[in-house]
């Protein structure tokens, strides 16, 4: 009898207050575009992870007898190479699939490094104040004052073009927004009572920063980080296109476009496909980011 009552009592309560993950999913899935974006992105991630099994050929194998083939459904196409081949006879489909790996890797690497650095610098600036704060924020102002791509070009010109340096260059460009975001939301939290209470209770500074304040700054940070991935992919592709990003034979979408530029008249397909891959990836991440914002950060909800 007693157990019965407890059951009945517990049930409605459980239903009324779904767990944090469940409630996140409920508001996230309200946005159909976001779910669609997530599905497309999941597919691209799947391709990237299992590229070795999915791609028909190696991205750098050259089939010299089959150069500049159009996709298979076009006249002159060959089903051995469903999306055709490039000027060196490399299979476009395989290169696109491996390219997903490169682009997603760049996007994620930039995001992880800039979030880690941004959180650290932002928290330090917010907690230290004074000279340290001013110094950090002045440097961030400097970075912002140079147009993003121009700064990235300068950095790559100095360090030399490579995949790793692309990641560093784009990370530097994106750093200020994370630092500013974390600093602003941490400053907002520091004055609140729970932080004072923790401080009075003798919590050490590092713990105060990371365990007490940081979790309350996370929502806007996650949204910014998600959108940061797509922007990083775009920026890195632009560098690749200018010949300042990943170097051949790495199948990077931007540099694939650059390689194909001269065939714009004769072989439009070689130009069309890599750009389409960039666009679809970036759109799906942005769609998902919008959904994340609606779900995590109701204050920023787009009307």
């Amino acid at each position: 009898m007693a157990a019965d009552i407890a059951d009945h009592a517990a049930e409605p309560v459980l239903r009324a207050v779904p767990g944090p993950l469940r409630s996140f999913w409920i508001s996230f899935s309200e946005n159909r575009g976001a779910v669609f974006g997530m599905a497309v992105l999941a597919f691209i991630v799947f391709l990237a992870v299992f590229a070795d099994w999915i791609a028909p050929y190696s991205p750098i194998d050259q089939f010299r007898d089959f150069t500049k083939l159009p996709p298979a459904w076009e006249q002159g196409g060959n089903w051995k190479f469903p999306l055709g081949t490039d000027a060196l006879g490399r299979d476009t489909l395989s290169r696109l699939i491996y390219g997903a790996r490169v682009s997603l890797f760049i996007g994620l690497a930039v995001m992880v490094v800039s979030v880690l650095l941004g959180v650290t610098l932002g928290l330090v600036a917010a907690f230290s104040g004074g000279l340290v704060d001013t110094a950090i924020m002045r440097i961030m102002d400097l970075i912002i004052s140079v147009p993003g791509l121009v700064l990235a070009i300068l950095i790559v010109a100095v360090l030399g073009p490579s995949l790793a340096n692309t990641i560093w260059a784009v990370t530097v460009v994106f750093l200020p927004r994370y630092v500013r975001l974390v600093r602003a939301s941490a400053m907002g939290e520091i004055g609140k009572e729970y932080v004072t209470a923790a401080r009075v209770a003798g919590v050490r500074r590092l713990r105060l920063m990371v365990m007490t304040v940081l979790p309350n700054c996370l929502a806007p940070l996650i949204v910014q980080a998600a959108l940061g991935v797509s922007e990083a992919i775009l920026e890195a592709a632009a560098l690749g296109f200018l010949g300042l990003g990943a170097q051949p034979p790495i199948p990077e979408w931007g540099s694939m476009l650059a390689d194909s530029r001269e065939f714009i008249r004769s072989n439009p397909w070689i130009v069309t496909l890599p750009g389409l891959a960039i666009l679809v990836t970036v759109i799906s991440i942005n769609l998902m980011g919008d959904g994340l914002r609606d779900a995590l950060d109701p204050k920023l909800k787009r009307s």
Binding site: V146, P147, A157, V158, A237, T272, G275, I283, S303
Partner: protein, 337 residues
């Protein structure tokens, strides 16, 4: 008011100094010896090499080099291109009008289409037009513009033959000395029939490509700003007292909705410069963006250094102007600092 302007302007001084330091250090870190680039890989006597080093001040201690560098910059000397032997400042200002012309056209394109579209979308919220526009805006925002440029060249220039593929004017038919550096104006001034048309034809496609991302941003911003204003009390009052919808929207709502939009337009200048690098490269548009990329390829470090410094200075100054304009319109900003 004057105090606000002075304070705001003073804030940019350390930024300028930091910028000089950044470009100075960056170029020193570059692998490869600029003198060797200039002189070729072999076949130069040690005396000649030393002479070159002295000529470019490369034999001085680093701090002295930086001090000299700042001193020269303050006197308007941005160095001399290693490749063309031309003063960097001269070269920059020869090319800059082309970039301004392109950016200006791009921004006009974005404003003329983006703001009305955003307003209509806000008024017809949830309609097919609204949904389509937001979809397009997301696409434009996510667009790799270098690909967009190539795509448009393929469709509009190659397939349809409507616009030329590259350059600023048909150089075979029209030639005249630049007066203002702005091709559209120079073409009109030249009085040659058809020159203006040709210049405009060359400008349209790159302008659209560069204007796409600002267009997507503006349409989105205008829409959300308009939606916010439409729910304000004074709009409801205006409606309640029987004003025509045209007056309510045009006079009361739009004016207030445009305030944040104007700020966004000003802040787009930085991304326009970044976009210009890509757009100019694709369309062989002879502006500062293409010049910057080419100087990397030629290892022309003085040009790279001066170019980045000048482009950033322009962006800082434009942002400063926007801030000041905004401050003079909106007293809350002025006194907030």
């Amino acid at each position: 008011m004057v105090m606000f302007f002075l304070k705001r302007a003073a804030l940019t001084v350390p930024t300028f100094f930091a910028l000089m330091f950044l470009t100075f250090v960056a170029i020193r870190l570059v692998p490869g010896d600029p003198v060797e680039v200039r002189t070729g890989e072999r076949g130069i006597s040690p005396e000649r090499l030393a002479q070159f080093r002295a000529e470019y001040g490369l034999d001085q201690p680093v701090w002295k080099q930086f001090a000299d560098y700042v001193w020269q910059l303050l006197h308007g000397d941005f160095g001399t291109s290693i490749v063309t032997n031309e003063r960097v400042l001269t070269e920059f200002f020869q090319l800059f009008p082309a970039t301004i012309e392109l950016s200006f056209f791009a921004m006009v394109f974005a404003i003329v289409i983006g703001i009305p579209a955003g307003v209509v979308a806000a008024l017809k919220r949830g309609s097919l037009f609204d949904q389509t526009l937001m979809g397009l805006s997301l696409t434009g925002f996510s667009m790799p513009i270098f690909w967009w440029g190539l795509l448009l060249i393929m469709l509009v220039s190659e397939r349809l033959g409507w616009t030329p593929v590259s350059g600023r004017i048909d150089l075979i038919k029209y030639y005249f000395e630049p007066v203002t550096g702005f091709m559209l104006i120079d073409a009109l001034l030249s009085g040659q029939p058809g020159a203006f048309r040709s210049a405009l034809h060359h400008l349209v496609l790159p302008g659209i490509v560069l204007g796409t991302v600002p267009l997507a941003t503006l349409a989105r911003m205008t829409r959300s700003s308009m939606l916010e204003v439409l729910s304000e009390d004074y709009v409801r009052t205006a409606r309640a007292k029987g004003l025509s919808p045209f007056r309510v929207v045009g006079l009361h709502a739009l004016r207030n909705a445009l305030i944040p939009v104007v700020t966004i337009i000003g802040l787009q200048v930085g991304s326009l410069m970044a976009g210009a690098v890509l757009t100019e490269t694709i369309f062989s548009w002879p502006g500062v963006g293409k010049w910057l990329i080419e100087s990397i390829g030629r290892r022309d470090y003085p040009a790279l250094q001066g170019g980045i410094l000048l482009i950033s200075a322009v962006v800082i100054l434009v942002n400063l102007t926007v801030d000041m304009l905004y401050g003079s319109i909106n007293p809350r900003i002025r006194h907030g600092r």
